[in-house]
Subunit: 111 residues, 2 copies
DNA sequence: TTCATTAATCGTATATTTGCGATATAAGAT
DNA sequence: ATCTTATATCGCAAATATACGATTAATGAA
């Protein structure tokens, strides 16, 4: 892949893709599910639930945090994470704007 | 990455992740946008619009098709694609089920 | 201070994705 | 039958992602 072409697309397309990318691994879906259920959760609890090594879970958490989907802060020697519902809302709205509006017009299949 | 762990997660988690993965590249978002606007579209028109080589676009279309997000059929020497709104609907519903319900309860941030 | 616990980061191996040119395929046109 | 056009597929190179063990850092407990 000589050169990266992602920059050639609109910011909105890139943002939406980045959001989807953060959700594109079952481990991260599972992490979000746990966080959604418990509202907040320390890292160790997530590690206990997932079939992955601690370092791998930490890496997935970092990606979710970088994508802005979760927040995290340190509580003593632990790390407490929770879903950033605001960012979540923004992206689901953008997603619906992009496709669901058009859906109403084009509901009929063509192929 | 010695072994793949994706299989260790629930089917729903895997399905949702696979859907998100199909959306995780701006080129594929752009393709879906074009298809949504025009309802149906032949491959060449998409190639003209995107800043990518024909073979690369064809590959992205294949991924979207494999993920079930678009349908395609051959019309003479061309390929006509369109969005599979039904599959789209299914996944957006699943997505909302997983997170939006819980959101109502947990709207307050914790971190 | 020393030890134990928790989690982030580093280094590394392997898998997957992305991208392109070249080639193959298949239909319609001449 | 040959040529043109449209698109899929192949083969390859480079970039990214995934996973883990080992290490580091930072806090609280003894």
């Amino acid at each position: 892949m000589a050169i990266h072409k992602k920059e050639s697309f609109t910011q909105k397309e890139q943002d939406l893709a980045a959001f989807a990318k953060a959700l594109s691994h079952p481990a991260r879906i599972a992490i979000l599910k746990v966080l959604a259920q418990r509202n907040e959760c320390i890292c160790g609890e997530i590690v206990d639930v997932l079939p992955l090594a601690q370092s791998t879970v930490s890496q997935h958490l970092k990606e979710l945090k970088n994508a802005g989907l979760i927040d995290g802060n340190i509580v003593g020697p632990r790390s407490c994470y929770c879903i950033n519902w605001k960012a979540f809302e923004k992206f689901t709205v953008d997603f619906n704007l992009l496709f669901n509006k058009l859906k109403v017009q084009n509901e009929k299949a063509c192929c």
